[in-house]
């Protein structure tokens, strides 16, 4: 059968190349080459020192050893009774534990205040960045604000505010507020661009003012999503607020950096674990709350 099959299909072209998403196979290989060269150049540029990598991971064990067990600064006071049975009679709370607690409270307070202020600021920016609602020049300004807010990391803003103005927790709040439109205004603007124009026209036809159009035609359409995103943003702010203290902008991060500076690694690990716990709880609360409102 195989002998005859050759003749049976002889009229068909035996050449075939896998189709490519690029314009041609030449372009494809050119793109691959460029990407490969780019990555190779990057690897070459950083000149990874192999010996230091080996040495560093070697000392990782020592560091981990120094970190364990984590020291939260809370110890249980135990008294041995006359029968030799140890009984816990109270707890001993050290300065470290107090600093940890205060740092966390400040972190969460920062995240909440920053979310509220950030959302209030983001709403008008979102309207400005919605192409279908505002004139072109306003739209460009709105998009620029969103882009700049996204491009500069909150920590960059934080360090400038701290050194420029010198306030702690408030600098952190400013940094978080700064970063909010890049997330919230961007997403809400995209929603605004998708809203149903018929509903707006209906309100407008009753002779409503632009503000009334916003309140009764636009707001109801994006409100549920705004609430959801606000909760989500709070969750992001909690994460960010835990590290803003690294540059002195308030919150637990400050306590963490100082513990590292003092080589108090057991305390450092306690702080890191506390941060992870708070972040995970924040994530869970945010997830549950978002499900409830939707």
């Amino acid at each position: 059968m195989s002998a005859t099959s050759d003749d049976r299909y002889a009229e068909y072209d035996g050449q075939w190349k896998r189709p490519t998403v690029f314009r041609s196979h030449t372009v494809k290989y050119a793109v691959y080459a460029v990407v490969l060269l780019f990555v190779a150049w990057n690897v070459w540029a950083v000149r990874l020192p192999l010996d230091r990598i080996v040495q560093g991971f070697g000392s990782a064990g020592v560091l981990v050893g120094n970190m364990f067990p984590p020291d939260f600064g809370v110890s249980i006071v135990v008294r041995t009774t006359e029968f030799g049975v140890p009984v816990p009679v109270g707890t001993n709370v050290s300065d470290g534990a107090v600093r940890l607690w205060d740092g966390m409270v400040e972190t969460i307070a920062m995240s909440i205040v920053a979310t509220v202020v950030g959302v209030i600021i983001s709403i008008p920016i979102a309207v400005m960045a919605a192409e279908n609602l505002v004139p072109k020049p306003v739209y460009i300004i709105g998009r620029t604000i969103v882009s700049v807010s996204r491009a500069l990391h909150e920590l960059v803003v934080g360090i400038i505010v701290v050194v420029g103005f010198g306030f702690g927790a408030l600098a952190g709040v400013v940094a978080l507020v700064w970063a909010t439109p890049g997330f919230l205004a961007k997403l809400i603007a995209e929603d605004l661009e998708d809203i149903d124009p018929a509903q707006i026209d209906a309100i407008r036809s009753t002779g409503a003012s632009p503000l009334q159009v916003m309140l009764f035609g636009v707001a109801p359409q994006v409100m549920p999503r705004l609430i959801g995103l606000t909760i989500y943003r709070w969750d992001i702010n909690v994460r960010a607020a835990t590290i803003l203290g690294v540059v002195g902008a308030g919150g637990i991060g400050n306590v963490l950096v100082r513990s590292f500076d003092r080589y108090d690694y057991q305390y450092s690990l306690a702080i890191i674990l506390a941060i992870i716990a708070v972040v995970l709880v924040g994530e869970a609360v945010s997830a549950i709350a978002r499900r409830r409102v939707q």
Binding site: I108, A109, V148, V246, I272
Partner: protein
């Protein structure tokens, strides 16, 4: 029939009233929590009064950007991109096996699945700055610590999205290929790779874009990149230099964002 309508509208009103009440309580609760938080921050109000003036002053001191200084930041800016690229590469290499463990349909058993999930959560819940603090202790200040912190931070992100992609693989397609007599490796090449490749490229480029931004800040704790230079300028109160750096960051980050969006739109 009339009573029917009446009770129904009554129900509706009751439902509406409950919703309204809930909304007011929600609003009130938010207000109270916010005010309490504000109190907890212990902000001195004199700051707020002088803030507009100080902001204006700062901008005045920043402007114009120091163009003579610009050539000096080219090297650290490039180092920032290097950190993002190499960090992402390292993360990709490590994320593939983690994703394999963390995907329900490829993981060997329950324990490996838990291990995969644990690694994902561990990587994701530690901020890049904290990774940087740790790696600076281990490897000293500089690029290496930066690469590793970016990499370790990205593993969880990449592995999570990749494992979700693996879980969505069409199993009948794999079965069909096996049924032709293809071996395990051929099935991988022909069935698995094409199904996850586009998403994988998209996810990687997206993470690279995020990492460019993260690489701008790890310098604050000594892990290389433009952040170290920025911190120095700020500490010297060289505000014109600071503005120069900010503009450079803005350009690089915006470019990487556009690039990443373009690639993600192209690969399907």
């Amino acid at each position: 029939m009339a009573t029917d309508i009446a009770t129904r509208s009554g129900d509706w009103e009751r439902f509406d009233r409950r919703k309204k009440l809930l909304r007011y309580f929600g609003l009130l609760g938010t207000l109270i929590v916010t005010l309490a938080s504000w109190q907890a921050l212990g902000v001195r109000y004199t700051y707020l009064e002088t803030a507009p003036e100080m902001t204006f002053n700062l901008f005045q001191r920043m402007y114009p950007p120091d163009t003579a200084y610009a050539p000096e930041i080219v090297a650290p800016m490039i180092a920032t991109v290097n950190i993002a690229v190499v960090g992402t590469m390292v993360a990709i290499l490590m994320a593939i096996p983690v994703a394999y463990l963390g995907a329900r349909n490829t993981t060997p058993n329950r324990y490996t699945y838990s291990l995969g999930k644990f690694l994902i959560v561990a990587s994701r819940s530690v901020h890049v700055i904290i990774w940087a603090l740790i790696f600076v202790i281990l490897f000293g200040t500089g690029t290496l610590a930066g690469i590793l912190s970016v990499a370790f931070r990205s593993i969880g992100f990449l592995a999570k999205l990749l494992s979700e992609e693996i879980e969505e693989i069409d199993e009948t397609a794999l079965e069909a290929i096996q049924a032709t007599g293809a071996g395990r490796l051929e099935t991988m090449m022909y069935g698995v790779v094409p199904q996850v490749k586009p998403a994988f490229i998209g996810i990687s480029v997206y993470r690279w874009d995020i990492n460019v931004r993260e690489a701008t800040i790890i310098g604050f704790v000594g892990a290389g990149g433009i952040g170290m230079e920025l911190q120095t300028r700020i500490n010297f109160f060289d505000w014109n230099g600071v503005l120069t750096i900010l503009i450079a960051i803005l350009l690089v980050v915006m470019f990487s964002e556009l690039f990443s969006a373009y690639v993600r739109k192209k690969v399907r």
